[in-house]
């Protein structure tokens, strides 16, 4: 390994390490999962311990899109636009079964999983997921971020 590649590898590692502890998420909250998101974000479970304590309510300033709650067909174009507005690097977390697969809403109104619209990095199942599973999902996302796995 030459000096140049050693340097870039270490630099990528450093950037990955920095990124995984400075997650600015955009909570796209549409349904009851939002309550569980709030419980996770507040002091009892405290996602600030993982450097994800500051949600940005503008997609342009966020790098992780938390899709929290059922996405209807009419909401789908909005979600797509929000995703497109985020600057790179960006990651997407599907929070709850509705965003993963449509959940039990197997009907005319609900999108059967947001991965039919946008790419998803981490799926957190549950109806709604316990804060522990959210934190587990967040840590998996951190691993992914640290490894430099991103799609753009």
């Amino acid at each position: 390994m030459g000096v140049g590649s050693f340097f870039t590898t270490k630099l990528d590692e450093a950037i990955g390490w920095a990124r995984k502890y400075s997650i600015f998420q955009y909570p796209f909250v549409t349904a009851c999962c939002g309550m569980e998101y709030m419980a996770t974000a507040c002091s009892h479970y405290d996602i600030d311990r993982f450097g994800a304590g500051l949600p940005r309510f503008s997609p342009r300033q966020a790098d992780v899109l938390f899709v929290v709650g059922t996405i209807s067909h009419k909401m789908a174009p909005v979600l797509k636009r929000i995703y497109d507005q985020m600057t790179e690097p960006k990651w997407v977390v599907a929070f709850g079964v509705c965003t993963c697969t449509g959940g039990f809403y197997d009907n005319y109104a609900t999108v059967q999983g947001i991965d039919t619209i946008i790419p998803v990095d981490v799926y957190i199942p549950g109806c709604p997921p316990r804060p522990e599973s959210v934190i587990d999902g967040l840590m998996k996302l951190q691993e992914k971020i640290a490894a430099g796995a991103q799609r753009f």
Binding site: H73, K74, A76, P77, V78, K80, R81, D84, D106, N107, Y108, A109, V111, Q112, T116, I117
Partner: protein, 165 residues
């Protein structure tokens, strides 16, 4: 006015156009023919004794799989009227067939009927003749079918729509 008196007044004025009436636990219902519907609605709103100034709800029912009514007119369009002045209520219904699901509009009487009729068109595919802008209200233009019809497959997939420009 008491509910029974309202039904009596309607029967007296419109005669055979009032197909059927019934009362159940204080809810009074009159079923009228489609042809008479605009006149009945206008009378309900403008008559001083009735003065139904609020159209509380306008919806429809699909009776195609209702026991005993599979062969009859498929849809029933339901109007819930309320009078602020007299504090009384009335439910009006009209029946339409599957091959001709058209009902005269009530937008000229109560402006709220605009969106309610669009919703009924969206969900049941019942058209409202004379409506100024009968587009889908809740669903989107690419959607095919009317999901609250009983023969709509519960898990039919519809095309995804992209961002609007």
């Amino acid at each position: 006015m008491q509910g029974d008196a309202i039904l009596d007044a309607l029967r007296e004025r419109f005669g055979a156009a009032v197909v059927e009436t019934h009362a159940h636990r204080g809810d009074h219902t009159a079923v009228v023919t489609r042809q008479a519907l605009p006149d009945v609605l206008r009378h309900c709103r403008d008559d001083a004794g009735l003065a139904f100034d609020v159209l509380m709800d306008l919806t429809a029912v699909d009776y195609s799989r209702f026991p005993g009514r599979e062969d009859g007119p498929r849809f029933e369009v339901v109007y819930h009227l309320y009078s602020i002045r007299h504090n009384h209520r009335l439910r009006l219904k009209t029946r339409v067939d599957e091959d001709d699901p058209v009902v005269p509009t009530a937008v000229g009487l109560w402006p709220i009927a605009d969106w309610l009729e669009r919703e009924v068109w969206d969900m049941f595919g019942v058209r409202f003749e004379g409506h100024p802008d009968l587009r889908r209200l809740l669903l989107y233009e690419e959607f095919s079918g009317h999901p609250l019809r009983k023969d709509y497959p519960i898990n039919r997939r519809q095309p995804l729509i992209g961002p609007r420009v």
